[in-house]
């Protein structure tokens, strides 16, 4: 299978990128891990589930409809585990195509090639460790959004919502509407932070109105909002029973907590593209030009994976990336004219999105407050004290800390612990830039060996020449 453009990730940026490129005649494939395109914000409910239609649902449906009509090939249930080729193949002229290895919806591995690659891999949630965060019943804010909106399930009966950013109020309002009790909303931001963000939010009156409506719901229902505070501990016997805020325990059976969003840069790191540390955009982000081009030829990123700006900005950045790819492949004669509208949309949407992203930036005080014995890396059971001991033993960047402790070597590959660990390493070695990030490694997600292997005979294995005796 060979394409002009492969788009990795079927959120708003990916859907728009694939649509734009296919509409202009390119051979395009969109690869999406879920059963349907949509991404996290515009996630479609499972087949056969019909619920109320809200603004996000309408926006998602519009993007889905345009994608289906565009002629782009859509592969859902498709888990891309390998990215390679292109710039990673040395001294090849013309440049080698990109190669993608993926598992199809039946779990079989297959490969495809594309001349250009648009990465729309979105974000994952930053959750800074605190005592008790590994208790069942603690889950992410974004996770709660997915659970509530796509799956129609409440995370608990009496829920504490905590962390930073607009998702706090969205989740709390949704919980109330769906019949749960919200024991408290615990917002790291002081009210003054919200007031400072207001002028930028005014660029998007729809978002502002939505936010005010959420707040009004909370006030009407008498929900306690604790501003400028965080959850300092969670406890429970077997499962979560209470969380601690400002020294007092609040009973709950679920805690939805999130400290912002982190761009998913696994693929750009694997390609050794240049990155920069931009806390206001979520952390390490690929270095891009005005058209979403990475430092690596024919590689583009769009949406929140390129730096957090929110779902509303994502489609425009996807279109800008697709147009640049078409132009670079020689498939778009009048790039300058074509990019005007999406570039303008992107600039406008990014303004409001950027204000929210800044509010969700990592707060170092949270990391400094983690008690030494708290587990930071859940997969490998590595504590803050162990990470700091490794730093004291000379680990001066993320790769070395990883080797010294196994932090980030488990199945999530550091996606959950990475932000906390990097902040801890940075505290010792002179900042996040110096701490760097773990080298990108394949597979992008754990791959069942069975799916890779398929059926084979020993004779099929191309065993190389033996080493000398």
């Amino acid at each position: 299978m060979s394409y002009d453009i492969a788009v990795l990730g079927g959120g708003p940026a990916g859907m728009a990128a694939a649509t734009e490129a296919a509409q202009r005649g390119a051979r395009v494939v969109l690869l999406e891990e879920s059963a349907a395109p949509g991404g996290q914000v515009y996630r479609a409910p499972p087949s056969g589930f019909i619920g109320p239609v809200d603004a996000d649902r309408r926006a998602g449906d519009a993007l889905r409809a345009a994608l289906l009509a565009s002629g782009a090939e859509l592969r859902t249930g498709c888990r891309v585990w390998g990215v390679g080729g292109g710039p990673l193949v040395p001294q090849r002229e013309p440049a080698a195509p990109f190669r993608l290895d993926a598992l199809d919806s039946d779990g079989r591995s297959f490969a495809m090639e594309a001349r250009a690659l648009v990465l729309c891999c979105g974000t994952h949630e930053r959750i800074i460790a605190f005592p008790g965060w590994t208790l069942p019943g603690v889950l992410g804010l974004a996770a709660a959004t997915i659970l509530l909106k796509a799956h129609g399930v409440l995370p608990g009966r009496r829920v504490v919502v905590a962390g930073a950013g607009p998702l706090l109020y969205a989740v709390a309002a949704k919980l109330l509407k769906a019949g749960a009790e919200v024991a408290a909303v615990v917002d790291l931001a002081h009210r003054t932070e919200w007031l400072r963000a207001l002028p930028r939010l005014a660029a998007r009156p729809d978002l502002l109105a939505q936010g005010l409506a959420w707040r009004a719901t909370l006030v009407a229902r008498g929900v306690r909002v604790i501003a400028g505070a965080g959850v300092t501990a969670a406890r429970g016997d077997e499962v979560l029973q209470a969380v601690q805020v400002e020294g007092a325990w609040i009973a709950c059976d679920a805690l939805c907590i999130g400290h912002g969003l982190v761009p998913a840069t696994e693929a750009t790191r694997t390609f050794r593209a240049a990155h920069r540390y931009a806390p206001a955009e979520g952390g390490w982000v690929p270095v891009l030009d005005a058209d979403q081009r990475c430092s690596v030829p024919l590689l583009y990123t769009a949406g929140d994976g390129a730096g957090v700006r929110g779902a509303a900005a994502a489609p425009a950045s996807g279109r800008v990336a697709a147009l640049a790819a078409l132009h670079d492949l020689g498939l778009l004669p009048d790039h300058a004219a074509a990019r005007v509208a999406p570039a303008r949309d992107l600039a406008r949407a990014a303004k409001a999105g950027g204000a929210m992203a800044r509010m969700m930036a990592l707060r170092p005080a949270l990391v400094r407050a983690i008690p030494p014995e708290t587990i930071v890396c859940r997969c490998e059971g590595v504590t803050r004290a162990e990470i700091e001991a490794a730093c004291a033993d000379g680990a001066a960047d993320m790769n070395q800390m990883k080797q010294f402790t196994r932090c980030g070597m488990g199945p999530c590959q550091g996606r959950i612990c990475g932000e906390t660990a990097a902040e801890l390493v940075g505290m010792h070695c002179g900042g996040r830039e110096k701490a760097g990030f773990a080298t990108g490694r394949l597979p992008l997600r754990p791959v069942p060996m069975d799916a890779l292997l398929g059926e084979f005979d020993y004779a099929d294995i191309p065993v190389p020449k033996p080493a000398p005796i």
Binding site: F49, P136, G140, R157, A251, R415
Partner: protein
């Protein structure tokens, strides 16, 4: 710690309040039965497995002594790997698969 004890007691009282975790007002496919760790459960066909387990009151997905346990769904988007289970013998992330009739789900 007294205050803490009070909230735990409050939590136990809350358990008695019958309150379905599946949100009302959504039309769902008919229930099918499946099993988790030997217990028979039911959920609408096609419901996300991680969500179905939460709706059935099951939070702990992996037991054990090592530091990586217990586990529970954390991210719901395929990233954290904390909801890894076996479905019909194969390792899968619960948050990425739908419920099907008769599926046998066990801890890893």
């Amino acid at each position: 710690m007294i205050a803490g004890m009070d909230v735990i007691a409050e939590h136990d009282r809350m358990k008695d309040v019958a309150h379905p975790l599946r949100i009302a007002g959504i039309s769902r496919p008919a229930d099918v039965t499946f099993s988790f760790a030997g217990t028979s459960l039911s959920a609408p066909e096609g419901e996300n497995l991680a969500a179905a387990l939460i709706a059935c009151g099951i939070r702990r997905l992996g037991e054990g002594q090592d530091a990586a346990r217990p586990r529970a769904a954390l991210c719901m988007m395929g990233v954290c790997q904390q909801c890894l289970l076996r479905v019909d013998g194969r390792l899968v992330q619960a948050c990425l698969v739908p419920v099907r009739a008769g599926m046998v789900v066990t801890a890893t």
